[in-house]
């Protein structure tokens, strides 16, 4: 085996043949085959506008937090993609590809049956309550970061949470309240006229979580802050 060949970085050359599905500000997402399975590869590429040392530390931290949060969620029974491999030299995470799924965002946009939407809101509230009870803050809750498994089984709704890049562990009601606020803002701006649906989500959250009252209280407080809001106490 030629030594020079084996020293050549393998993940980047592998990514050249993989299918790029999304390019964001933080990472590129690919689909590929890994050990015979279909996988999603999340590559946190180097940010040249940052100081290199800062970039390396920050990127590594984001990668490890993402991976930790996914494991923590799964241990509690919350659906998140299985981590197959992490390359800490290129900051690539190889994750299970959730096939036969649609983002909740796309689903809400196309779903006409109001009862099914309500059942979905109930489920989301339930899953988020479970996650917060595990003290996992997602950090980027939007309907694009939730996948709905499509299948013949219409009785049970299977939700998978993805993109734990901004997640962290915290027991503070304030952090959980902010997490919900982020979702509220994203939800209402992406899906017009869904205020009642979101209220239903919050009701389900309140019913499913053991520590919800403090969190909802904080959510109300956070709503009063924010942009274009009067800070009159």
């Amino acid at each position: 085996m030629a030594q020079s060949n084996s020293l050549k970085a393998s993940v980047p050359s592998y990514l050249k043949d993989a299918q790029l599905i999304k390019q964001g500000a933080e990472a590129r997402v690919y689909r590929g085959t890994f050990l015979g399975r279909s996988v999603i590869i999340k590559e946190r590429f180097p940010k040249l506008y940052r100081h290199p040392e800062v970039d390396e530390k920050l990127t590594r931290r984001r990668t490890t937090q993402e991976v930790r949060s996914i494991l923590r969620c799964r241990r509690a029974g919350i659906n998140a993609p299985v981590v197959y491999f992490v390359d800490y030299t290129t900051h690539c995470i190889f994750l299970e590809d959730i096939i036969h799924s649609v983002s909740v965002r796309d689903h809400i946009a196309s779903e006409e049956n109001p009862q099914r939407l309500q059942a979905l809101a109930d489920k989301i509230g339930e899953v988020l309550a479970q996650m917060h009870d595990e003290d996992v803050i997602h950090g980027d809750l939007t309907t694009s970061n939730m996948l709905l498994i499509t299948g013949a089984d219409q009785q049970h709704i299977h939700l998978v949470l993805i993109d734990f890049g901004l997640s962290y562990i915290s027991a503070l009601a304030e952090d959980k309240g902010v997490d919900l606020y982020v979702l509220e803002k994203a939800f209402l701006s992406t899906h017009p006229k869904t205020e009642t649906l979101f209220e239903r989500l919050l009701k389900s959250y309140t019913a499913s979580s053991k520590k919800s009252s403090a969190v909802i209280k904080k959510l109300d407080e956070v709503r009063l802050r924010g942009r274009k809001r009067s800070m009159v106490g």
Partner: protein, 175 residues
Amino acid sequence: MQLTHDLELFPVYTVTQLLFRDVKNATELRKMAVNGEIKGALINPSMVVDAFQILVAANKAVHLHKIGKMKTRSLYSEIIFNLSPTNNISEAFKRFGISDSDSAVHIVLVHNKEETLNIDDIISKVDGQQIAVDQVSDLTDAAKIKKLYKVAPQEEKCGSLLDAVVCRMATKDVA
């Protein structure tokens, strides 16, 4: 019978797995692995849920070997170490490597794709019956695995035992 799979990230390498039951010379085999007569990882099949689990361990081992960051001294001991949920190397060998009293063995070989591997040579060294690798699930001790990896019943709501095991293997360094 045996299972061969290329490592997509390391196209030069291939992983071959062999499974044997009714093994009578586990002690000898262990010695051969230690002194290099058998160039492979000898694993206790009761701790293996699926061949995929072995591939994940082998992939990580080859990766760390390439960047010079293995925790153990050889590629094969690294594969065994990667299977373990803890960072204690001797514990990993004890639980995942074969012991003298074992009657089944799962052999993992990592080799150059071009190299013609003398599988028959290895098979002849094992005093036991070779079975298809996908039958390893018959030898799996799920209860022991759940206990060692600390898999709670609630986790099984979102995936299989294999998912739980592989996820822990992949995140062991930071969890």
